[in-house]
Structures are given as structure tokens and as C-alpha cells.
């Protein structure tokens, strides 16, 4: 160990660490790692919007997005556009697992719970793809059936009103809340902070130090 104690032994690690620190500090303007992908999803209206990006903000172009239900059945899949976006109408109301597969072994997923889909009654509304107005007569969901059957009576008219009001409120709420939702989800983004990097370096030196302690102990 004596060889490491003289000045020339300490010089180099010091220089390397100094260089390292400078490198980290210079790079903190864009701390990111291209080898990880993120995906997040939010509900707006009756659609689920997803955005995929690398943590430095670069969008994932042409990544494959697959949607699974809670039983791991694949519901649908698609590819992201140049903005890293992909949106779909959820085929059913369930806990959705949205998986992003980018090239070269990169993969990440986002869980969208049934409650998040809840406001839109996604299961029923998915049939509305062809058009919301026309759907009323063709809709096969039990709720709408009740509506259609009893549409002649006065009670039903009130019910329809309530339903419509609810729909309107939901729509404007979705619109108003969309930016907040987006911000919330963005808050979940994982970014590398310099503090974490230095923490990691500390771990490495700590672990090696412990190994050194025990090997020295054994030797002496």
C-alpha cells in the first residue's frame, strides 16, 4: 500500500475526480440519458392520449405502443408519430397497461387505472367512434338500452337531461383539467440530478472502501 501513499500516487485520482466533477457540472444543463424511454398517458374526453419521450425531452418516433388490459390481453397496438404521440379510444373500462417498445431493448410501461378512465365511461363510449349522436339508437350497452326503451315517458326525459348535463360538465372539466393533468404526469418524470450522480459515486467509493478494509485486515 505504501506505493499509493506518495504524492504521485494521489495526483492522478485527484485529477480524474476533478475532471469528472467539471464534466458533471458542465453537463447539468442537459442531464439525461438517451438509453431509457418514458411514456405517460392521460385521459381527455373519451380518448387516451400517450406521449413517449427520452428523458432529455427527445420524442420517441415510430415506437410501438401496445395496450393490455388487467388480464394481460393485448387490446390494441400502434406506433407513435413524429411528436412521440399516440392516442386511442379505450375498448373497455379496465386497468390499462400501456407499454412502449422502442428499438434496441428499450421498453417502459404506464399504468392507467380504471378510475382515470372512469369519468368518460370509456367502455360505453368506445362505441361512439362512429359518431356520438348516431350511437344512441345502436348502442348495445345496457344503460343506453334502458334509455332507448323508456324514451317516450316524461321520467326518461329528465334522465336524459341529467345524462347530458353530466356529459357537458365532464367535457369542460376535462378541457380545463387537461393542462394540470399533463403537468402532474410530467412531475412523475424521472430525471437524473447531479445530487444522485454524486450519491452514486459515493456509493462506489464506499463499497470499494469496505472491500479494501476487509482485504487489508485479512492481509495483516
Amino acid at each position: 500500500m505504501k506505493k499509493f501513499l506518495p504524492v504521485q500516487g494521489i495526483k492522478l485520482p485527484g485529477a480524474v475526480i476533478f475532471g469528472l466533477i467539471i464534466f458533471v457540472l458542465l453537463s447539468t444543463t442537459a442531464p439525461s440519458f438517451a438509453h431509457k424511454v418514458n411514456i405517460f398517458a392521460y385521459v381527455e374526453g373519451n380518448k387516451v392520449f400517450t406521449e413517449s419521450y427520452f428523458p432529455d425531452g427527445r420524442k420517441v418516433e415510430g415506437g410501438t405502443v401496445e395496450v393490455y388490459d388487467s388480464q394481460e390481453n393485448k387490446l390494441l397496438s400502434g406506433t407513435t408519430d413524429t411528436e412521440g404521440k399516440f392516442n386511442f379510444v379505450p375498448p373497455k373500462k379496465d386497468n390499462l397497461k400501456i407499454v412502449l417498445i422502442a428499438t434496441m431493448g428499450h421498453k417502459n410501461s404506464y399504468l392507467l387505472s380504471a378510475e382515470e378512465l372512469g369519468g368518460t365511461a370509456a367502455g360505453e363510449e368506445s362505441a361512439n367512434e362512429s359518431g356520438q349522436e348516431a350511437a344512441q339508437t345502436e348502442n348495445t350497452s345496457p344503460e343506453s338500452n334502458v334509455q332507448a326503451v323508456s324514451s317516450g315517458t316524461g321520467a326518461a326525459a329528465v334522465q336524459v337531461d341529467v345524462q347530458e348535463i353530466k356529459k357537458i360538465i365532464d367535457q369542460s372539466l376535462d378541457q380545463k383539467l387537461a393542462p394540470i393533468m399533463r403537468q402532474l404526469v410530467k412531475g412523475e418524470e424521472e430525471k437524473v440530478s447531479p445530487a444522485q450522480i454524486f450519491g452514486g459515486i459515493g456509493y462506489i467509493f464506499g463499497i470499494i472502501g469496505i472491500i479494501l478494509y476487509f482485504t487489508k485486515k485479512k492481509a495483516s
Binding site: V37, T103, K107, N108, G200, I208, L212, A219
Partner: protein
């Protein structure tokens, strides 16, 4: 060049874990010298940080991987060093995945060992230019081989070997060039400042020769 959780099948993950731990244990058991530990700590830190910092380059951003440099500097100890770096990257940054640490260690560790082996062949020569060139070649080779290993591993996930290899290597051409320069420069710098750190023994060495890498 990190494989995420859920890409590889379970048997492949477990198999890679077993092989990686075996290789790391062998390296530690046969090649670890307590004198080398501070050096290992520094190089592991460099490897750990290099993967986390991306450099904007044209339309995309790339990050260095540095298996070549780790191999040149640490020889056989490069493998456990890379494994430790990857464990911390996975734990602290979810960079890569916990289940794929074995696969990722092999993917970057094998090129590092290869680079270390090649560098070991030439480092005893007195020709500095040759040593620096070897460093640069090892730097490039490390990343190149990592791309090939990635393709091999992804084949088990059902992807086409040449398809993946082509994409991986095309995306890493700038990285390969940068790493070649970085590793070459690092070797040149170490030759001047502290040659015994990379196991090079100079002819008229004023300092007492240190324990070489392979002893």
C-alpha cells in the same frame, strides 16, 4: 445500450445472471489486488457517470459507454467494476433493469475484457504510439462488441440479429468514434502522467514499478 426489464425472457435473464456472477467471482478471486482497489473505484465511477450524461449530437443525443476504457484500465477487474456500476445505475436511476443486470453486465463486460486482453498484449512494448493506437482501437472495439452482444441478446427476445445489429451500430457510430478518441487520449495522458496505472512499464522508470494488472 442498456436492456430494460421485461425485454428478455426469464430463462435468459436467469442464465445471464448466473454467467455474469460466475465471471465476476472468478475475476475477483483470481485477479483482485488490494493495491488496485482505489483505481477500480475511480474507473467504476467514471463508467457509472459516463452512461448518465448524454451529449447532444446533431438531432439525437448519445452517451458514452466506455467498456473499452474500463477494460484498458482495469484488465480482468473490468467485469466486476462494470457490474457494480450497472447495479447502481439500475438501483438509483432505473437505468437498465434489475432483472437484466446480468445480461447488461455480459453485454458490456465481455467487450471490456476483450479490450483489456488486447491492450495487455501491447502494453509492454516501448513504442508509445503503438500503445496509444491500441488504446484508441480498444475504445472503439469495446462499443462495437457491446452492440454485437446486444444484438445476440435481443435475438433471444425474438428480434432479427442483423436488423438489431444494424440499428444498434448505426446509432452508435458517433459513440464509437468519440470513445475511440477518449480512450486513446486517456491512454496517452496516463502514459505521460502515471504509466503504471495502465500497467505500462517504461524503460528508464524512475519510480519503482507497480504491481502490473495481470499479477
Amino acid at each position: 445500450m442498456h436492456i430494460s426489464d421485461g425485454v428478455l425472457s426469464n430463462p435468459v435473464c436467469i442464465g445471464c445472471y448466473a454467467v455474469a456472477i460466475g465471471v465476476a467471482a472468478t475475476c475477483i478471486k483470481t485477479k483482485m489486488e488490494s493495491q488496485d482497489l482505489p483505481k477500480i473505484a475511480v474507473i467504476t465511477s467514471v463508467f457509472f457517470v459516463a452512461s448518465l450524461i448524454s451529449v447532444p449530437l446533431g438531432p439525437t443525443s448519445v452517451h458514452l459507454i466506455l467498456p473499452g476504457l474500463v477494460g484498458v484500465a482495469l484488465g480482468a477487474m473490468a467485469f466486476p467494476s462494470i457490474m457494480l456500476g450497472l447495479v447502481l445505475q439500475a438501483l438509483l436511476f432505473q437505468h437498465g433493469g434489475l432483472t437484466t443486470i446480468g445480461a447488461n453486465s455480459l453485454m458490456m463486460g465481455i467487450p471490456a475484457l476483450t479490450a483489456g486482453f488486447i491492450f495487455h498484449q501491447v502494453r509492454k512494448s516501448n513504442n508509445h504510439r503503438l500503445i496509444i493506437t491500441a488504446g484508441a482501437v480498444c475504445g472503439a472495439l469495446g462499443t462495437l462488441l457491446a452492440g454485437v452482444c446486444l444484438a445476440v441478446l435481443l435475438v433471444t427476445a425474438g428480434e432479427n440479429f442483423f436488423g438489431v445489429a444494424k440499428v444498434a451500430l448505426a446509432a452508435h457510430v458517433p459513440v464509437i468514434i468519440i470513445e475511440s478518441i477518449v480512450t486513446g487520449a486517456a491512454v496517452a495522458f496516463l502514459l505521460k502522467v502515471k504509466p503504471d496505472l495502465i500497467g505500462v512499464r517504461l524503460k528508464n522508470d524512475r519510480f519503482s514499478p507497480s504491481v502490473s494488472l495481470d499479477s
